[in-house]
């Protein structure tokens, strides 16, 4: 029942968002056909181009064609490149996907051990230092970290050459090395946020009655933490991590720009400045799809970890 309700709401959300996005790009002020043909195009040329691109058909028909095309993988034609959008995206999506997943794994690798460790520091003099440092890291924008990383590790220590992207086909090891620093730049502030949430979630959970009962039965603090508390403390973190993944994908738009990574984020920015709306619409829709699916997965995961949510 819970899954059914969530699935229905998933499709409803997808429909609403795709419809809103599609409509928004139809009523934009600048006409992309004019942008494409130049200002000296005759009205006949413009009319011909519009009918070639199917812009003269009714809105709902076009929406329907676009959606069915999207599902089949036919994403329309880019106005800027005059190529099928799908062809252009084919080698960009894996790059952004690799970067996002890499960053997400880094967030988990960094934040889980540290979040648990920090929760044990409560009451020790190190506590305020650690909490303060965490707050500072949280406040540094990823693009600033990116610039600093380029400076220190790229220009200074020469771990990678800024701007000289290594594709996976050329050299897999070089590809991951190149992606490491951008991924870390995205991951650091996000990790700090996750650490903060995990720490406070564990500490809140630790004050509950079942923990006191557990202690009185002679359980060690560690056993209580890993067997009982962590499971409950992770529930808010799961939802947060789903949002984090969405934010990482969106955040890669900026990071790709700094590290000159040929992913969909860079393509999105180029397409925006070219007024290449079919391209912008597709990329936005792809990112939205990831966001909506991640939230759906998080809801399902939460329900597995915490059966109580089924009742709501």
């Amino acid at each position: 029942m819970y899954i059914l309700r969530k699935t229905v709401s998933l499709f409803l959300t997808l429909f609403l968002f795709s419809f809103a996005a599609f409509m928004a790009f139809q009523i934009i002020p600048g006409d992309s056909v004019v942008a494409m043909l130049g200002t000296e195009a005759t009205p006949e040329q413009i009319a011909q181009m519009r009918s070639e691109l199917g812009y003269d058909r009714p809105l709902l028909t076009r929406y329907w064609n676009w959606v069915t095309g999207f599902v089949k993988g036919d994403l329309g034609t880019s106005l800027g490149y005059r190529l099928p959008v799908a062809d252009i995206l084919r080698d960009k999506i894996p790059v952004t996907a690799a970067l996002s997943v890499f960053a997400f794994l880094l967030v988990i690798i960094i934040s889980f051990p540290l979040g648990i460790l920090y929760s044990k520091l409560l009451g020790s003099p190190l506590n305020s230092l650690v909490v303060g440092a965490n707050q500072v890291v949280m406040s540094i924008p990823p693009f600033f970290i990116g610039i600093i990383f380029t400076f220190i590790f790229g220009i200074g220590l020469r771990f990678f050459t800024p701007g000289n992207f290594v594709s996976y086909g050329q050299n897999p090891a070089g590809f991951w090395t190149y992606l490491f620093f951008p991924a870390l730049a995205i991951a650091l502030p996000r990790s700090a946020q996750t650490i903060k949430l995990l720490r406070s979630s564990i500490l809140t959970e630790m004050t509950k009655d079942y923990v006191r009962s557990g202690t009185s039965r002679g359980n060690t603090q560690n056993r209580l933490l890993y067997v009982h508390v962590l499971r409950n403390a992770l529930i808010p973190v799961i939802t947060f991590l789903a949002m984090t993944f969405s934010n990482i994908v969106a955040g890669s738009i900026i990071i790709e720009q700094i590290f000159v990574i040929p992913g969909i984020g860079r393509l999105l920015l180029i397409s925006i400045s070219n007024r290449d709306y079919p391209m912008v619409l597709t990329i936005v829709m792809i990112i939205a799809l990831v966001v909506i699916l991640m939230n759906y997965l998080a809801d399902l995961l939460c329900q597995i970890v915490d059966p109580r949510t089924r009742m709501r």
Partner: protein, 264 residues
């Protein structure tokens, strides 16, 4: 012993420091931020130029102040826009409940789950770049978070006895909402407002960094950061000053929000 609210203390100190600095920056900067001086091109920090000079020999400290003021204005406008609309939406949905509440909150959830940078990129690409459009785009995006908090406060408070009394006495609904309930929701809203500033500063800086936010000649911290990238090697203080101001703003508002949230 009562535990001190360090978040609030540091939040107030940092935010007050930055805001006072920027308020001074509105009326007075050590140098004219736009005066170029080739002789001073990319010179390091000194007694005359606290944070050094940029690639045109302009005083970076003055420019950081001017950029910070611009970022702060945009954030204030954005947050006010989101706050006012959010309070109105949240007040009505929370007070009346029902189907409207259900629909609006579902919509809120969807909007809330989207990364603000993505949506603001879409908005700005539709509306075109510029200060005003950035405010509109970000302001619209901030409505859901304010509406959600306001709604939950209103639906909690509306069942309290004093509200019931007011209803029985025949006080009009609008007066109950905004004169009787709203002042009691202010505490919670303050914390959300602080985090709103935090997000606004970050979003504005990101957009301007990408070149689609604030356009020249309007100054912006994000764009300074983007421009300074080229001179990172010869003038690291340029990047550090612009970035440092952004970090201070975000850090201050973040701590302030946590601190305000801890008051109960």
């Amino acid at each position: 012993m009562k535990k001190r609210n360090y978040n609030l203390i540091f939040g107030i100190i940092i935010t007050a420091f930055v805001v006072v600095l920027l308020l001074i920056g509105i009326f007075w900067t050590p140098y004219n931020p736009d005066t170029m001086n080739v002789k001073l091109r990319l010179t390091g920090p000194s007694a005359e130029h606290l944070l050094g000079c940029d690639n045109f020999g302009r005083d970076i400290f003055s420019r950081v102040l001017k950029g910070g003021v611009s970022t702060l204005w945009i954030s204030v406008a954005t947050v006010l826009f989101g706050l006012v609309c959010g309070i109105i939406v949240g007040a009505f949905t929370g007070y009346y409940g029902g189907v409207l509440d259900e629909v609006v909150m579902r919509l809120n959830d969807v909007l809330n789950s989207f990364p603000s940078i993505l949506l603001s990129l879409v908005f700005v690409s539709l509306l075109g770049p510029g200060k005003k459009n950035v405010v509109i785009a970000l302001g619209l995006l901030f409505i859901p978070s304010f509406a959600r908090i306001t709604r939950s406060e209103f639906s909690r408070i509306k069942s309290l006895d004093y509200v019931k009394c007011a209803k029985l006495e025949g006080v009009p609904p609008l007066r109950i909402m905004f004169v009787h309930i709203l002042p009691n929701a202010v505490n919670t809203l303050l914390s959300t407002t602080a985090i709103g500033f935090n997000n606004a500063v970050l979003a504005e800086a990101s957009l301007s960094f990408l070149g689609i936010g604030v356009q020249p000649p309007d100054p912006s911290l994000g764009r300074m950061l983007a421009e300074s990238q080229t001179y990172l090697f010869s003038a690291p203080w340029y990047t550090l000053s612009a970035g440092g101001m952004i970090i201070l703003l975000i850090l201050g508002f973040g701590l302030l929000s946590d601190g305000l949230g801890d008051i109960e």
